[in-house]
Symmetry: C2
Subunit: 192 residues, 2 copies
């Protein structure tokens, strides 16, 4: 076997095998991702990420959880013990667009040498303060600029950027919107 | 001065001062958050988060950047060197809802003893694979359940949960949607 099965760090043999398996059994594509979070103080809180469901079963490959802290910088009354939540949103978007681009490039046999991106977005904090009440609190816009080194034609790289924007789960969640249900636990609540 | 100015770890004197300043000069509420990301290999990439604009100036309080890695678990062809992007999205959402709730509780004089949350969301990976082409790639839904310990009446805590959902920038970005511009750098592109 002289066939190259690794492209852009992605095992394309496994990738095509996964695609074939999902074509035969679409339920294998159903994933459920999770996080738990505990408030520490002020704007400082900590998430624990470990288990998820996917490919038809509970994943047990992670032996230790990922632990990540949110905080706010001094100007937002925090102690800066971690990036803040809206910055983590940009981190997730950057990673998701990049991986989507890298995996699809691998599937198409397009070798990438370097992929870098810069992201920024505008927020009007009056929305968070709820004064005045009609100001949206979320990002007004998010700009992502990729710098990509590859021997592939620029047109192909531009096509991959468009595809990444379309298929990236984080990007799609942001552009299409997601129904978010926020509830206070009933029996389990500790509230008096 | 015997007035208590710290509630839930939030300096309410500074909080009310910030609110008053923004009421006088709304432009102080304009923030621009940023992240840069560099692909490492396969599903592994790294974000750097440091500078932002807000309160009328470039923030210079952070001396060293926050560095965070995305990767994918083995079942998604990664090496699990970090949580994945859709998990970081849940982390940001958890932190943003929690801080929004904690800050508004502080502003209302509601003391919180404990705040914990569990989040999960469903994704159909066929959207990411782009096969079939009509499957949305993003979260189909996200569920957030808070467990809160406080001596305040449950009705007040429920009200704060509703307020947090409304004013949280990450939650609002997800529920209302955001225009995301993805472009390939022109002159700066390294693509052949």
């Amino acid at each position: 076997m002289t066939e190259i099965t690794i492209m852009n760090g992605v095992n394309t043999e496994k990738l095509f095998g996964t695609i074939d398996a999902i074509k035969e059994m679409p339920s294998l594509a159903k994933f459920n991702f999770r996080a738990t979070n505990k408030w520490i103080n002020g704007g400082h809180n900590r998430s624990t990420i470990k288990d998820f469901y996917g490919a038809g079963q509970e994943d047990t490959s992670r032996k230790i959880p990922f632990v990540v802290d949110n905080d706010e910088p001094a100007v937002l009354l925090g102690e800066d013990k971690g990036a803040n939540p809206v910055e983590y949103l940009l981190h997730g978007l950057a990673g998701c667009l990049t991986s989507s681009l890298v995996y699809h490039a691998a599937a198409q046999g397009v070798k990438l040498d370097e992929v870098e991106s810069t992201l920024d977005g505008d927020i009007d904090l009056r929305g968070l303060l709820n004064f005045p009440e009609n100001i949206p609190s979320g990002y007004q816009n998010i700009r992502v600029t990729f710098r990509i080194k590859s021997e592939a034609p620029r047109e192909k790289i531009e096509e991959l950027c468009r595809l990444a924007k379309k298929v990236s789960p984080v990007c799609n969640s942001l552009t299409q919107g997601v129904a978010v249900e926020v509830k206070l636990a009933d029996a389990a609540t500790k509230s008096a």
